[in-house]
C-alpha cells in the first residue's frame, strides 16, 4: 500500500475566480485607457482626421462602410482559412514523411527552409502570373507563409518521444503503426498545437501581404485592397477601420487555436493545466 506521504495527490486545484476575472479585466482596462488617451490626444492637439482619426470616428466609419468592409473581410477570411487548411494538410503530411524516412527528410527539409526564408513579397508576383485563378494564387502565397511552423513543429513533436517509452514499445514488439498512433502522435500533439497557433497568425499575414502584392480590384477585393485604396484616397478613417478588422480577425483566430489546444490537451499537458497555488 502506498504510504501517506505518497498518497499526497497533486490534484488540480479549484480555479480561483479572482485570477479568472483579472485575466480578462486587466487587458480590457488597458485597452479602454489607451482609447481614452488616444481620443484626448487627438482632441487636444486638434490632429486632422487624414493623419490620425479619433477612435469614435473610426467606429462611425466602420458602421457606415460596413457593407463594403464586411465583403472584404469575407474575402480575406476565405484566403486565410484556405491557406491555413492547406498549410496544415501539407505540413503534417510532410512531417509524417520526414519521420518515416531519414532520406526524405534530408532531401526535402532544406527546400522547406528555402521556402520559409524567401520573402513572399518577392515570389508573389510570379505565383500570380502562374496561377490563373486569383483566389488560388493568393491562397498559394499565404500557404507558403503559413507552412513552415507546421512542418517544423510537427516533425519535432513526432521525434520528441520519451526514449524509455520508445524502448518499452520496442520490447513489446509494437508495430510501426502502433508506435505511430499510440506513441508518436500523442507525443507530437502539444508541438502540433503550438505550430497551429503560429501558423494561423501567419496565414492571415500571408493573405494580407499577398493581397497587397496582387492589388486585385473589383469583386474579389480583400481588406488589404481596402487599406491600399483608402491610403490612395486619403480616407484614413476607413484605413483604420479595415486595420481594426484585420486585428480582430487575428485575435479571434489565435483565441480559437488556444481553445482547440485546450480541448485536445487540457486533461493532461502541463501547458494547459491550471497552475498549482
Amino acid at each position: 500500500m502506498p504510504s501517506r506521504g505518497e498518497r499526497e495527490r497533486r490534484d488540480r486545484p479549484v480555479k480561483k475566480k479572482n485570477t479568472n476575472f483579472l485575466s480578462w479585466a486587466a487587458p480590457l482596462a488597458v485597452g479602454i485607457v489607451a482609447l481614452i488617451v488616444w481620443h484626448a490626444l487627438v482632441k487636444a492637439f486638434d490632429v486632422p482626421k487624414y493623419i490620425v482619426p479619433s477612435p469614435g470616428l473610426v467606429l462611425e466609419t466602420l458602421i457606415a462602410d460596413w457593407g463594403l468592409l464586411f465583403n472584404s473581410l469575407l474575402v480575406t477570411l476565405k484566403i486565410t482559412f484556405g491557406a491555413f487548411f492547406m498549410a496544415v494538410l501539407i505540413g503534417t503530411t510532410l512531417a509524417f514523411l520526414f519521420v518515416q524516412s531519414r532520406w526524405v527528410e534530408v532531401s526535402l527539409f532544406p527546400y522547406a527552409v528555402l521556402l520559409q526564408v524567401t520573402p513572399i513579397v518577392a515570389i508573389a508576383p510570379l505565383i500570380i502570373i502562374w496561377v490563373k485563378n486569383t483566389y488560388a494564387a493568393l491562397i498559394v502565397c499565404a500557404t507558403i507563409v503559413a507552412l513552415f511552423p507546421i512542418i517544423a513543429n510537427t516533425t519535432l513533436g513526432l521525434r520528441s518521444v520519451n526514449p524509455g517509452l520508445a524502448d518499452l514499445f520496442r520490447m513489446n514488439k509494437a508495430s510501426r503503426w502502433q508506435t505511430l498512433t499510440q506513441l508518436r502522435i500523442p507525443s507530437a500533439a502539444p508541438y502540433f498545437f503550438g505550430g497551429l497557433r503560429i501558423s494561423s497568425g501567419l496565414a492571415l499575414i500571408g493573405a494580407v501581404v499577398a493581397e497587397f502584392v496582387a492589388g486585385t480590384g473589383g469583386t474579389g477585393a480583400g481588406l488589404a485592397y481596402q487599406i491600399l485604396q483608402a491610403g490612395f484616397s486619403i480616407n484614413i478613417p476607413r484605413l483604420f477601420a479595415a486595420l481594426f478588422l484585420i486585428t480582430v480577425t487575428g485575435v479571434l483566430l489565435f483565441t480559437l487555436m488556444v481553445l482547440l489546444s485546450k480541448l485536445a490537451l487540457g486533461s493532461w499537458h502541463e501547458s494547459e493545466v491550471a497552475p498549482e497555488t
Partner: protein, 257 residues
C-alpha cells in the same frame, strides 16, 4: 534463465562499457548489479533486455538465442529509471499498454490490469492521469505495467533512484514482498549498498573503466524480509563487505571521480 557469456560492449566512440562479463541468472533469484557510475551496469541490463547487442560474446535465454523472447511464458519486462508513463493516458490505459500492444482481449485485459494495480496497492486510481500522482505512485504504476504480462524476468534500472529515502524504503519493502509472493525473477540495478543488501539474494559488484564483474556476494538472509532486517548486525556486516568491495572497485579502475 539468462546466461551472459563473456559479453563485451564497445560503443562507436571507442568507450569500452563492458569487458568479458560472465553472469548467470537463475529462476527465482533477486540479483542486484551494484557499482559506481560508469561501470556499465545499465548497459548490461539493457543487453539482457535485448535493447542493445553485445559487441562480442553472447547471451542465452533459456539456452536459446533471444528470438525466443516473447513466446508464451517466456517474456521479460523492464522498469526504467523514471516511470516512463504516457502522460496523455489514464493509469488504467498505461498499465494495459503491453496487453493492448499484444492485441489481447479487452475484457481479459481489464481484469489483469485490476489485479496488477491491486498488487502495487493502487486500486481506485485507475482514472487518474500520471501528473495527478506523486513520484512514488507513478513508479508503482510503472511496476504494475511491468507485472501485467506475468513476466518471467523483471529488469529494473535504478527504479527508485529519483525518490526520497522514505518512499524508496517503502517501495523496496513492497517490491521484495511482491517478489516473494509472485515468485518473480528480478535483475535490479542500483548504486545504493543498503538497497542491494535489503533486496537481493545475490549482489554482483561491478567495477568501472572498463566495466566488469568484480565479485559476487550472496546475501544469506531468509525471506520474507521485513524492515527489521535493516537494523541487524548481519545487515551491517553485509553493507561493510559491499562497501569494501566498492572501494576496491574504485581503486582498481582508472577513475576520474
Amino acid at each position: 534463465m539468462v546466461e551472459v557469456l563473456s559479453a563485451d560492449k564497445v560503443y562507436a566512440n571507442g568507450t569500452r562499457a563492458l569487458n568479458a562479463v560472465d553472469l548467470r541468472i537463475f529462476p527465482g533469484e533477486f540479483v542486484t548489479l551494484l557499482g559506481p557510475s560508469g561501470c556499465g551496469k545499465s548497459t548490461l541490463l539493457k543487453m539482457i533486455a535485448n535493447l542493445i547487442e553485445p559487441t562480442a560474446g553472447r547471451l542465452l535465454w533459456w539456452r536459446h538465442g533471444y528470438d525466443r523472447v516473447g513466446e508464451p511464458g517466456k517474456n521479460l519486462v523492464m522498469v526504467f529509471q523514471d516511470a516512463t508513463l504516457m502522460p496523455w493516458a489514464r493509469v488504467q490505459k498505461n498499465v494495459r499498454l503491453p496487453l493492448d500492444l499484444g492485441h489481447l482481449d479487452k475484457k481479459d485485459s481489464n481484469s489483469r490490469v485490476a489485479d496488477a494495480l491491486a498488487l502495487v496497492g493502487l486500486t481506485g486510481f485507475e482514472d487518474h492521469y500520471p501528473r495527478q500522482l506523486s513520484g512514488g505512485m507513478q513508479m508503482r504504476v510503472s511496476i504494475a505495467r511491468s507485472l501485467v504480462t506475468d513476466p518471467n524476468l523483471l529488469l529494473m534500472d535504478e527504479p527508485f533512484g529519483a525518490l526520497d529515502e522514505i518512499t524508496r524504503n517503502r517501495l523496496d519493502a513492497d517490491l521484495i514482498q511482491l517478489w516473494w509472493k509472485k515468485k518473480l525473477t528480478v535483475v535490479f540495478v542500483t548504486h545504493s549498498i543498503y538497497e542491494a543488501v535489503f533486496l537481493s539474494t545475490r549482489v554482483v559488484v561491478m567495477a568501472a573503466r572498463p566495466g566488469r564483474v568484480l565479485r559476487e556476494v550472496k546475501i544469506d538472509e531468509p525471506h520474507p524480509r521485513s524492515d527489521a532486517f535493516r537494523v541487524t548486525q548481519k545487515f551491517a556486516a553485509y553493507a561493510k563487505e559491499l562497501s569494501e568491495c566498492l572501494a576496491e572497485a574504485s581503486a582498481s579502475g582508472v577513475t576520474d571521480l
